[in-house]
Every structure is written in C-alpha cells, then in structure tokens.
Symmetry: none
Subunit: 159 residues, 2 copies
DNA sequence: GGTTTCTTGACGTTTCTTGACCATATCGCT
DNA sequence: AGCGATATGGTCAAGAAACGTCAAGAAACC
C-alpha cells in the first residue's frame, strides 16, 4: 500500500535518469491513466516534488499536442548554485523549510550525513540561544536562522 | 517504573542495529499501538532520545502515508572512547584550546576540510551575533563559543 | 520537598487523493 | 482569417489520513 504520489515521483525520477539531456516530456493524461488516477494528481506530484528548491524546472502547454516538460537545474559555476540557494532561502526561513531543504540537499549528494548533522546541531544551538537566552520573537529567530543557514551553505558551495 | 520511554527507545535501537544502512522507517500510530500508548508518546521518545546532538537524524511526514524515519549517523563507539572524548572536550574552556583540538583532528583525518569549515563558520557567526546584537562580555562570548563547539564535536562523536 | 522526567489527551497542521469546473492551444472547416 | 470543436493541461476545495504541539498531572529522582 505504497503511496501513489511517491510512485509517480519515482517513475519520473527514473525517466530523468534514463534521458540524456536530463529533460523529460510527458502527457499528463497518459501518466494519470498509467497510474489509474485523476490527472490533477500529476499536478500535485509536480507541485510538491519537482520544485526549484529541489532542483527542477517544469514547463507545460495546454491544448492539442500539449505536454509537460521536466528538467533538472544544472549549475555551471559554484556562484550560480550559491545564488540559487540564497534565493530559495530568502530572508526568513522556518524550521520546517530548513528541514526540507537540508533533506533535499542530502538526497542530491550536496551534503554528507555528517555535514547535515553539523548543520542541524548548529541551527538548534543558535535557536536555543536566541530563544532561551535572549528571548527574541519567532520571526526574528527565523531571520537569524536564514542568515546562519545561508552563511554555512555558502561556505560549502565554495569547496 | 518509567519503563515505557526506555522500552520504546530500546526497541528503536534494536531496529537500527538490524538495518544495514542504519535507517528505519516506521508508523507512529503502529508503534504506539504496539506499546499500547498514545501516539504523542513516540514524539517524546524521539525528542528526548534521538536528537542530532546524539548523532541521530529524524525526519517525518504527516498526512496520508505519513512516516517517521530515523537515521543513526555517528558510529557506535565503546564507552571508554566516549568517556575519553568527554574528558578532552569537557575541560576545554577557551576558543583557542578548541581551535587546537580542531586542527589536530583535521590533521589526523578525523575531520574533513568541509566539516572544519562548517565549524569555523558557525563559530564566527555566533560570535558576531552575540557581539553585535547582544553586547555580551568577551568572556561570555568565549564561553558560548566553547559550548557550541563542544556540542558540535560531541554530535560527531569524534576522537 | 523540590526538580526533572514521563504520560496522556485535546486540539492543530500538513499531506494526499479525488472531482468538479476553468483555461488555452491546435485543427479543420468555411 | 475566423470560428467552433476537440484536446489538453490548470486550479481549487473538500475530506481523509497521518503526524505535531502543548499543557496538565503523575511518577521518579535527589
């Protein structure tokens, strides 16, 4: 009784691995039929799993010969990756968003297990400090968290 | 007899030991049923026993087909080595001393370049934060840095 | 006896699935 | 070229299925 969303996600990932230019094109209706679900389920999978934060771009076109095209974002220079990360993190980031981002980076092999652990501990420590010691508002805490995260990830992107 | 929490903790530890890549995935509801307790008890066990500081990463997802995944990152180490680690970092007070320890760990190949970088950046960031925002005395700042570094090193169970 | 840790349960939030209804691109016919 | 028909894909909301949070009281610890 595995999840439908996960099955579709894995299917698309497999397609991407096979394709050479790391782009796949597919029909929403066909894919939905293949999995025996409503077409809008495909949109849900794309919206939740193939986001820019996870390193994907999705384009589509309606009408006759319509299509959905999914591409991996690739970075030529480290600076591009840094810019992308900073854009995603923004000025404020919640604990949950941090989790998701780190999980994604780990899955993509950008972060090792131990590096992730260090990031988690550093973020937790700062959060404890800022909450317990200095009693800042949750919003301020999320701001400081974004700052720390950006700083840490930027340092890694450079080596 | 506060055995419930311990029983659940041991159960999860046993699962982790069986697994090859030390990761287990479980259903909160099932586990709670298995132990005849409320589901939130599982959260308590995870929060208190499977923290990043202790070398674990916990991820979860809500909603249909939700799950809780627990990964053990740091190696199992004999108690004497853990004691040894405690002995070394427990006595560290100044940032200088911790720096020396870091360099030594790095030279011995126990800490990677990237990991060292993360530690340095986290350290510097916290110091700037504490100095600029909260205006603590240099002595206090030094202590907080040492605390952070000790926490990070412990999480990796290095030594 | 006071403090920390544990246990429970009420209430909150997120994720997934489905379906009705909306928007738009292409084609074929005038 | 214009226009309707057809073929796609998009959005949104509702309901169900998990998991999370928080606070109060009990138990254990010192």
């Amino acid at each position: 009784m595995s999840s439908l969303t996960r099955a579709i996600e894995e299917y698309i990932h497999r397609l991407l691995e096979e394709e050479e230019p790391e782009v796949v094109s597919l029909r929403r209706k066909d894919l939905a039929e293949h999995f025996g679900c409503v077409p809008s389920q495909i949109n849900y999978v794309l919206r939740s799993r193939f986001t820019p934060e996870k390193g994907f771009l999705v384009e589509s076109q309606r009408g006759g010969h319509g299509f959905i095209r999914i591409a991996r974002i690739t970075f030529r220079r480290p600076q591009e990756r840094i810019d992308h990360l900073e854009e995603i993190i923004g000025n404020v980031i919640s604990v949950q968003e941090v989790r998701r981002l780190l999980t994604s980076l780990q899955e993509r092999g950008i972060l090792s297990d131990r590096e992730r652990l260090l990031l988690e501990v550093a973020l937790r420590f700062q959060d404890e400090l800022v909450e317990g010691y200095f009693d800042l508002s949750p919003y301020k805490r999320d701001m400081l968290q974004a700052d720390l995260l950006k700083r840490l990830l930027r340092s890694l992107a450079l080596c």
